[in-house]
């Protein structure tokens, strides 16, 4: 899958993290083209043993936006047992840190008062405001 192009330095860095194994494989066969080495454009699972690299544990690229610990739908090991019980217990902690920034509002720039109407997410979740960017 090759629908994404890096447009800034950080994105290029992330792309280069995923590239080295494929590039090494190509170099090992003298640049003659991969035969039994996977194409660098292959989709690589973030977990498991598929693909050209076999990371230990989930492959987490650089950057705060990719932090999955604890997760929202699944935890860092791919299951649900490690999620906060219930998940609302962790809602505000994710808000003040950089976990799951797409799912919770941005405390520092756009939604500093998100918790104003509802200080206990587990109890008053109906009062939690939806924030639209």
């Amino acid at each position: 899958m090759r629908h994404l192009k890096p447009v800034n330095r950080k994105a290029r860095t992330i792309e280069s993290l995923a590239a080295p194994v494929a590039a090494a494989g190509t170099a090992a066969v003298g640049g003659a083209g991969p035969s039994d080495v996977h194409d660098a454009t292959d989709v690589v699972a973030l977990q498991g043993t598929q693909g050209p690299r076999v990371p230990e544990g989930p492959h987490i690229p650089l950057g705060c936006s990719f932090v999955f610990a604890p997760g929202w739908e699944v935890d860092s090991t791919g299951s649900t047992a490690g999620l906060c019980q219930p998940v609302e217990r962790d809602l505000y902690d994710c808000y003040v840190t950089c976990f799951w920034p797409i799912h919770v509002p941005d405390l520092y720039n756009h939604a500093p008062d998100w918790t104003a109407k509802c200080a206990a997410a587990q109890q008053d979740w109906r009062k939690i405001d939806l924030i639209f960017p």
Partner: protein, 363 residues
């Protein structure tokens, strides 16, 4: 006939009431007579009476959500820092009023305080800061810097040079009980500074104090309100290079005398440690999904006591009550679960109207 009936009924009622009074069990276990300061996402610090677990009062935090609470050494003040780490608000605990706030940020530069250590005499604080300056197309982040900040004049008085010029993202700094000395922890040793002149006056090689052949001693110098000032009790971990295993044990360090008492407990396991009042026992939490355990540490007998599984949840915190009879399980959510420290059985769950950010139990 009716009089007899009334007399008999009254007598029977008295008997029943007396029996019920006598059959009532002992009063419910309470945690002591301390005070629990509970930071909330509601921009308040709840003041909770430990005996009843009821909210006695609250302190409004004007700088924002009190993401971190720090108690002064004399236990008379509390410092609350907000999530952007720019503003710190100071509270007087006797009056429960805010007495002021400070920040190093200005319109063009944001200064984030990532570490905050207050002198035991409340004269100054050592801050680890990083600047963030917004440019037209980016943020420029400064290097981590150690500053000495005068709490009375609210001004930076000194910049503290990094040991050997090596900058760090984190810095652990502890003061001696009288505030005269400052201990700066590096990977190799502990550097001792004069807190007035900020000059290094000595160094302490902790490894050599323990045993050359023990392997690297990893000890975090955990602070506890149940310990004497200048003393630190907690778990240490040490890697045995010969047998290729990591051991854990309990250490008690006298920082000013540079003395270490320690003993091993066994193979290292992922468990925390919380000291109980009286320093005879400690408690720990093993937090593994599907395998949550309470551990008890018999500090007098120098051994692990019980290891009891219980129905836990991810992201728990443990604090021992001020009378040592109750264990508080908190963090992540609006509840404090109370467990009996002897039986490790749940007593009850107390629910508050706001999720917790930080908590301090003060005797």
């Amino acid at each position: 006939m009716s009089r007899c009936w009334k007399f008999g009924f009254t007598a029977a009622l008295l008997v029943v009431l007396t029996a019920r009074a006598g059959a009532q069990g002992p009063p419910a276990t309470t945690g002591g007579n301390g005070t629990i300061y509970y930071g909330t996402y509601d921009k308040k610090i709840l003041v909770i009476d430990e005996a009843s677990m009821n909210v006695r009062d609250s302190m409004r935090v004007s700088v924002g959500i009190p993401i971190g609470l720090t108690l002064s050494a004399d236990r008379k003040k509390m410092y609350a820092i907000e999530p952007a780490f720019e503003f710190v608000e100071v509270f007087d605990l006797a009056t429960r009023k805010a007495t002021g706030q400070f920040s190093l940020s200005n319109d063009s530069v944001r200064v984030r305080i990532t570490n905050f250590n207050v002198d035991p005499r409340d004269r100054f604080a050592v801050l680890l800061v990083k600047t963030a300056q917004r440019k037209s197309d980016r943020w420029e982040i400064g290097k981590p810097t150690l500053l000495k900040y005068d709490l009375t004049t609210k001004a930076v008085t000194d910049t503290i040079k990094w040991p050997n010029g090596e900058e760090r993202e984190f810095a652990q700094i502890i003061f001696s009980p009288d505030g005269a000395l400052m201990y700066f922890f590096t990977a190799e040793d502990i550097l001792i500074y004069d807190s007035a002149t900020l000059k290094q006056v000595d160094r302490w090689d902790l490894q050599r104090s323990v045993d050359d052949g023990l392997g690297t001693l990893n000890f975090g110098f955990p602070e506890s309100l149940y310990e004497e000032p200048g003393f630190y009790t907690g778990l240490f971990r040490s890697t045995d290079l010969i047998n290729r295993r990591t051991l854990m044990g309990v250490a008690r360090v006298d920082l000013t005398k540079r003395a270490v008492e320690f003993y091993s407990l066994g193979p290292s396991e992922p468990v925390g440690f919380a000291l109980a009042p009286g320093r005879q026992r400690g408690y720990g939490l093993r937090q593994q999904v599907g395998n949550y355990q309470f551990w008890t540490f018999d500090l007098q007998g120098r051994r692990v006591g019980q290891r009891v599984e219980f129905e836990g949840r991810p992201r728990m915190g443990l604090t021992v009550s001020t009378n040592g009879r109750v264990l508080y399980i908190h963090t992540a959510g609006p509840t404090i679960d109370m467990f009996d420290a002897q039986t490790l059985q749940k007593i009850r769950t107390v629910e508050y109207r706001a999720d917790m950010t930080d908590v301090i139990v003060v005797p």
